[in-house]
Symmetry: C2
Subunit: 426 residues, 2 copies
Amino acid sequence: MSDPTELTALAAAKEIASGRLTSEKLTQALLERIDSRDDAVRAWAHLDPDQVLAEARMRDSERPRSPLHGVPVGVKDILDTHDMPTTHGSPIYPNNHPSNDAACVALLRDAGMVVMGKTVTTEFALRNPGPTRNPHDPTRTPGGSSSGSAAGVGDCQIPLGIGTQTSGSIIRPASFCGVVGYKPTHGRIMRNGMKVLAESLDTIGCMARSVADANAFASVMEASPIQSLSDVGPAPAFAFTRSPCWAEAEAGTRNAMKEAIARVQGAGGTVVEIELPPAFKDALEAQDVIMTYEAWRGLAYERCFHADKMSVALKDAISSGGDHTRQRYDWARNVQATCKATFWQVFQRFGAVLTPAAPGEAPKNLAFTGSPNFNRLWTVLGVPCVSVPGLKGPAGMPVGVQCVGAAGRAHETLAHAAWLERVLAE
Amino acid sequence: MSDPTELTALAAAKEIASGRLTSEKLTQALLERIDSRDDAVRAWAHLDPDQVLAEARMRDSERPRSPLHGVPVGVKDILDTHDMPTTHGSPIYPNNHPSNDAACVALLRDAGMVVMGKTVTTEFALRNPGPTRNPHDPTRTPGGSSSGSAAGVGDCQIPLGIGTQTSGSIIRPASFCGVVGYKPTHGRIMRNGMKVLAESLDTIGCMARSVADANAFASVMEASPIQSLSDVGPAPAFAFTRSPCWAEAEAGTRNAMKEAIARVQGAGGTVVEIELPPAFKDALEAQDVIMTYEAWRGLAYERCFHADKMSVALKDAISSGGDHTRQRYDWARNVQATCKATFWQVFQRFGAVLTPAAPGEAPKNLAFTGSPNFNRLWTVLGVPCVSVPGLKGPAGMPVGVQCVGAAGRAHETLAHAAWLERVLAE
């Protein structure tokens, strides 16, 4: 058998169910990988090998509870775990031991999966980075805020990781680390037990090694049956949009989009370039107003009573929220509602929209997790997004292609992303 | 001066600011009231008199930080407090000591208010009652789930209490206990640090002794400036709807609505009976689907790992959520979105809609917190609601009149409710 650290989650679970692999052996192999790579990558906020191995052995003693039984997963450190600390990437919470698991963590445990440990998050899932580095080049950022989950999956330290996105915190790090990033429709994975940043935007999703893995894992966290991805047929219909931020796209991203479109067309698919509806012109500003308005209020405890332990970067990122009036916030929420109602029209003719996942390759800067501008529009819309890996930029670093779908039609989005994944891998 | 326990919150704060009263003396008076009444009412899940008095003395040493400086408040026991346990009304959490305050709790402390203690909630803010009794008749329910906050305010043990509503958990107990209940527009008070039941419905609000108090306190929790309620003029325009549940209205509620309409008209206002738009026919079913779908998933940790400590009533209340498919949930969310878009039309001509707050007087049953059916429609719409006290039923128990407004226009709703409050008090 090949190196178990390189298996997809579904393949690993199949090996475990067949008896050719055990959860303990898989976990042991992953722990060895982490041991050899942790100095360089630093993906983990908390990891207790003995605890994980004990949990894996327990899973080996059970009958499989799901198609992901026995598979270890990294949990972003803004999600509560009843048996591990949850620091939110903040010095305000060094000894925070929640009484409960977040709902999504409980659901993956109920599916027989193993919590490997807590993965590094930026401070409260905003801009201030943790210690994690890009596994493909330690002088580059892994992206954020789901830094540890993206780097851990990208470095074969873990087959799956939980991420969350408020601006671009799943799709961007996935693109930078060369993994599949999946942000489901807003509100489909419940956020109970998550440290909320901005309620109207925060979305739980995942980092994975394949689109099929992301589909299966998200279904577990959604407490919905795992459905195989459907066949999109020989000629799937894609749209392409440069998005309002195209001027920020670097050569790596411009070339990747060009290459992706050519590969789709070469494989029999169609790609039609579209303009976004006029209502979208205010959407990026609305996303910023909603995020800062909600985060400034939502982090009231930290801001009012522990401001000395908040980074300057965090304070700067939310300070405008204190100036926004209720009327300004209502304006932004109305823009959000209008764009949600309008975007549906785009999907009359297409199965998914192709658009950049990030401005380019991961920046050579460990103090900056990169711009989320190619993600913010889709986050405020609450629509499903997948970052599909396979292409590389001028420096040889990964560059993802983002596949966007319609709210409530995530299955179709994932099916198109899986088709694209095969086409980009050829 | 009159008995300080009977002052409104704004009046008490004014006395404190003027030096005629102190936060400590007010707190002491409230503690004495609680001491004499707690055996009968049982509103408190946690109360430490020494701790509260120390906090009040600290407030007395400060310059006023807001128009509610020094006022004690009861905090529903599903909201995190860094210095008090938070049990969620559940035996799963007897020793739960959060590291943080919920955002709304931090904001009220930042405004110089005093956390009196934690008020009794039903189990996870659903149906299974706590020990609290109606302050006007200990053989009757106080309503739920915000039982302790409603009973505490209704019994002059506290001038203000925090409540939350997913079905009818603010407006119904307010009606039963004879206090003002205020559910703001969904999403305006951030829910960080709250035990979530159903994300798309849960709304933080308050119990108060006057509409003006509710307006001021909600503004503090919303981190928005406190604006005085505007004058609605000599002839405010109300609508009246029987709502889809009129058949459940008992004599107490039928008479109260008749009396309220007569008083409004007698005072110069207009009342026009309206039918709800046809799209609303599915709204009650949608509310139930959304609540059970989200709660069954959101309470995954408790359900999967501590089912033995969940009441049968709780399990029954959420079990249908496990059967609902993603498609059924999407249907319900679409109904919600359509009704939200449609309800706006009702407000072209009216300042507020009058409708029952509850089926009637508080039931003579401590095992049942009463039907939320007159509340569920407005919760799924996310619109602001106020229960206005002043009228009584055949047994002499309070019966509230519900004043409903349009999303994002809570100020207008409150202004109409304040006018109604004066008219009902005459």
